[in-house]
Structures are given as structure tokens and as C-alpha cells.
Assembly symmetry: D2
Homo-oligomer: 200 residues x 4
């Protein structure tokens, strides 16, 4: 007989940030749960793709049966801006911040320093083409301030070059993040913070 | 429509050591998986209780259809010793160490300092009764060297008092654990290490 | 006889970030050093105030016998800007970044949330008065992006109110610090990053 | 003029566990101290070797003018045991634990895996010779449960071989240290804990 316990532990090991030991703890957690809790979880996992679909415009995963998500179909949002993020969670963080009212595109990943990584390149180009007639004038490359993020910005700038006569490419401003201390900040952060200083 | 994505995230939040953010990452990980990977995982979770059962002797979870697990049915193991651990993973750590050849009992938990916690008390008493005629002479209370572990040892010592004329109660020895530095060791660890010193 | 070893350990305990154990390690480190190394260190400590003096303009500690430090006496620096930092190390971090060419003032501390803390308030007002005739037009309140930093900015804004008709008060810009990930950034950081976005 | 501030920072950088940034913080801490606090610290450092001397028996550093420290001159301590530790702080930890009443020897270091490191080898042999007529029967090699500690035990066992007919060599017992959890313990710790189990 196959070792189901081990099979499930190995499936949990593929979860982000989970090692062999925590994967086994998950299995024992499920063994200690009630059969109805287990079958409910199995049900949620099986039906995830039925209930949650990928928006054909921004590529994010969203609940509901519609082809286009609520942010993409919301006619009050600003069509002149398209903000490109790495992943769904980044988009949700920006929505929580509440200061952006334009459109989104989820890249689905970043490029490593050696240029590896799968990103939705063709889909981004298509989204750009589709949004141009609607008044698109700016694409905000909102990647993280990490070397992978910067590398991805460099690549996107390259493939979006053909649109630069119609569309302005921007990236997020550098500065002090909440909790940053001057003493431990690097030159780029400090220079950005100085340059972006504002009247108080 | 119910928010399935949120429901699944909340189920993952109940996993040991998982907060709201990592729970959401798990959901997005599953959304990015293939439908066949998802249905395989759902299948493993649903059938977990069919394939894995709790041994009626030691209470651990084990693969296979048998009522009694391989350690409990192994006739070459020593019936004179019964080692009590908190959880399945502790038992597996001891098996990996390879120096114990007696029987096991999994308590299923520990008692907190305020005496709270669910442990398999009645089952332990029953296992003791059942093992006495087979030659049981020692119960090793192998709990962790934490305050909860010590509290649980105190309680077990109490409820096992009626058997002390036939059975010796022992607990694990204190000493230097791998990596321990003398300078940072407390009095109990150092005293145990000194008392348990061995010729070299 | 007094316990010199303990006395020295207690003196090291007052060093920033040093607990009793590390303080003792320092003492044993010095006991293991050569007498000439020890007397050299003692000499450096004794003469610290002779060799290093506090600049009468910016209040930072600097080598050399001059009353005014090299940054304050440098005639090529911009007299229209005065940048206020908490401590000497912040000033040095900004100099390393190399993007600021104005004047400095070291506040010597921050105010806690309950308004406690010793800062060079009078000295700042005097420095402002002194710099106004030289063409001062902007005071940059370059405190850390922490609650203490923000509290101190609030207080400085208040006491500098009388100069606001002649001098613009600014604070450092918020945005992504190097290493910041969108997913884990708070609303203020993200809003700052969006607002301060720049063409790429 | 020499940069005294930098010289002192570099001296602090040689302190155990101190990097360039914290070394500079120490200098600024001293700059902010009163001249009398600074001169008192300088004085303590200069006179450290006058007030604290290395015991000629156990090699530890101790206050007072005597050649031999209080532990070595205490006639109520057990002359049959000599316990060898790496450093003064380990000896103090054992004294705090209060369960050892024999004699000590401080090795002054450990050997790395490649056999490097300075230890008081000749002094240990001399101490052994000196203690044999006084009734020495056991040398306890009380090194940390780290690879360096084990390597040092191996080396000491070798150089003490000539005395093994008169003196028993022992090392500290392995087991659960305070806070150890079974699940995360390695084979050697668990085997030691089982072997050293005691009646409860």
C-alpha cells in the first residue's frame, strides 16, 4: 500500500516556505481534525478553480463567475493608468493602502538576476494594446525594491519601448519605508528620501 | 456567492504556526497548481482517515488497515518498557535515534501550567493495565524539558501512583543537548550533565 | 577590596545594546589583551574629549582642534539648506550617500511618544537665527520613519513656526526602501512610493 | 592629526561580537558621557591587570592580590576531582549551578576542527602532576557539546593518556537541556537522555 501520509506531507512541502517538518505537522493536524473538517477542506481545494477564476484583463485570481474582475469592470476607475505588480498579494496591499484608482496587471512573477523566471510578458503587451484606445497614458512598474524587482523593471522597460511615444513608463519612488532608520539606510534609499522630500 | 478563497485561507490559518498572510500564500499556491495536482491533494486529505488509522495500543497514527501498528505488533520489541511521549513526531524522533527498543504510548498533548490540556489519560491507564500481565516493569515519561512537559510528568506520576509497586516510573535524563554551551546552560542542565558524566 | 572586574563589567553594561553577559565577555577580552593594548585603549578613552570636540555650529563630534567642523566651514556647501538629524551616525550615513550638499544640525536625540527625551532645541533655534542672514530658505527635518521620529518632527514644526514666513520646513519622502517588498509594505509607504513615482 | 575617534572604534571592533557599526556607537556613547565617567573607565581598564590576576593553579582571572584563587585555596573542596572548562565564564556558570565541589582548570580556548587554537596544554599537564599527590582520581573534561568542544575532548584524552592508570577521564553527560523538545532533538541527545533516565 502506498504511504498516503508521506504523499500528503510531500504535497505540503511544495507549499511556499514549508519544510519537511512543518509539512508533517500539517498532516498530523489534519489527522486530528474531524472527518467533516477534512472533507470540507478537500472540497474547497477541488472547487477552487470553479469558484475562483483568473480575470482575463488583469490576470488576478478572483471569486465569482465573471470573466473580468470587479476592479477591471469598475467604470469609475482611471483608464489612463496601468499598474504592473508581481503577484495578487501586492495588488491587494495597494488596494488596502487606498491611494491608487487606476487599472492593474499581475505579472505572475519576477525575473531572477540570471534572467530566469516566468512572467506574463505577452499578456502584458496584449493588455497594453487593448488599453491604448481607452486612453492609457502611463504604465507604473510597481515591482519590489529588490534586485529581482529591479531586474524585472529593466526587462519590462525594454519590451515596452515600442509604446513609449504614447505611454509614459514610471516606477515607484524610493524613500524611507515605515520603520526605516537613517543610520541603517543605504545611499539609494536616502537619496530617494531627500529628493522626494515634501513640505511639512 | 460565498468567498471560497477566504474560506480556504481561514482553514489554512488553523494549521500549526500559520498566520493570515501565509494562509493566503497557500491559497495562491494552489490556484497556481494544475487541476490534477489540486484534486490529488483533495483526494489525499479526504482519504487520510481511511488509509491512516490510530493504533489501538499506542494511539499513534499509522498507515495500513491493521488495528495495531507495526511497533506494537513487533514481537521482538521489549515488553518490559513503555515510553510515553507527547506526540507522534516525538515517537518518530526516538525511532530515528534508534536506541529504544521497548513499547510506546502517545499522550496526544501536554498540560499547561494552569493544568489545562487534553491528554489520553484513561487510555494510558488502560494501556498500563493491559501491559502489566505481559511483563511491564518501567514506564518512561519522555516529555520535553519544558515547563509544560514537567507539569505533565507531575500529573502522570500522580495518576500512575497505584502501579508504583509493580512498575518503576522514570523520566529522561538532563544534560548537555547537542550544541549546548556551558556558559549559557542553566543550573538543572549543568547539574544533570555533571551527574550523568561518563568515562571517555 | 573593591571588585574592579565587576565595576568594569557594569560600565560596559551601560554601552548601547550590551547586556550583563556580553559586558563580562568584554572584561575577559581585555584581561586576555596585552598590558600595552589596555593602556592604549585607556589613553584613547581619556583623551577622547581632547582630540574630538563638538562643533559649535552643527553640534556633531569631530576630530581636530577647530571650533567649527569641516562640513560647517566648507564654503562650497549650500547655505540655503539646513538638514536636521537625530545623531552623528545619521549625518555620516547621509554623507556616505553623497547626495546632500547643504548644512547640518545634530539634534542629539528624539522625543518619545510621551514627549520625553533631551534634544538640542535651543541650539537649533540659535542655529536657525544665525543661518537666516546667510540665506537659509529650507530646514529639512530628516528624522527616522519611526513613531519617535514623527513625534519629534511634530515638535520641531511647532517650535520653528515663527520662522515659517522665511523658511520652508520639509521632511524626508516616504517610499520603498531598498529591500522593501510591496506585499509587506504599509499604506503610508505604498502611498508615498506611488506619489513619488518617477519616469524610468 | 591622528583620527582618535577611528582608532578607538577599531579597538572596540576587536571586542567579541562587535562589528564596525556598534563599535562606532560605543565611541559616541563615550563622547556623550561625562569626562569623569570616561576617566574612571580608563582607570579601570589600565589597572585591570593590577587588581585582577590569573590564578597560578586554575589559570582563571580573579580579583585580589593572592597568587592562588579562592576556589583553589579553599580547603573544603574535593581534591579528587579536577574539572576542565574552556573559559572563565563556564567556570562561573558551574559555580552558579552549585553542584560541583571539586577543583577547576581553565583551558583558555578550544581547538577548531582543523586542530587550530591556543589552549593551556602544558599548564594542564603540570596541574595534573601537581594534583596527583593530593589524591586526584578523576579529570572531568567539561567542554561544550559542540564540534569544537568534542574535538578538544579528543585531543585532551590523547595528551592525558599517560595518567590514565591513576586518573579516570570523564566527560559531561548528554541529555535534554532545559527547553529541549524531543521532536527537534538529535540522536545523540535522545540516546543520552534515555540512557541517563532516572526514577521520578
Amino acid at each position: 500500500m502506498a504511504d498516503r501520509l508521506e504523499d500528503l506531507a510531500r504535497a505540503f512541502e511544495r507549499f511556499p516556505g514549508i519544510g519537511p517538518r512543518q509539512a508533517r505537522r500539517f498532516v498530523y493536524h489534519l489527522l486530528g481534525a474531524t472527518p467533516s473538517d477534512r472533507s470540507r477542506m478537500a472540497d474547497l481545494i477541488t472547487n477552487l478553480a470553479n469558484d475562483v477564476r483568473q480575470c482575463t484583463e488583469c490576470m488576478r485570481f478572483a471569486n465569482g463567475g465573471a470573466l473580468v474582475c470587479t476592479y477591471c469592470s469598475d467604470t469609475t476607475r482611471d483608464d489612463s493608468q496601468l499598474l504592473v505588480v508581481e503577484k495578487d498579494q501586492d495588488l491587494l496591499a495597494l488596494e488596502r493602502a487606498g491611494s491608487y484608482r487606476g487599472r492593474y496587471f499581475v505579472l505572475g512573477g519576477v525575473l531572477t538576476l540570471s534572467g530566469k523566471g516566468v512572467i506574463r510578458e505577452k499578456e502584458l503587451l496584449r493588455a497594453t494594446e487593448r488599453r491604448l484606445p481607452k486612453g492609457l497614458t502611463e504604465i507604473i512598474l510597481a515591482l519590489s525594491a529588490t534586485s529581482e524587482g529591479e531586474n524585472t523593471v529593466d526587462h519590462l522597460r525594454l519590451i515596452l519601448t515600442p509604446y513609449r511615444d504614447k505611454v509614459k513608463l514610471t516606477e515607484l519612488g524610493r524613500g524611507l519605508a515605515t520603520g526605516s532608520e537613517l543610520e541603517y539606510s543605504d545611499a539609494e534609499t536616502l537619496s530617494g528620501a531627500l529628493q522626494n522630500r515634501k513640505e511639512t
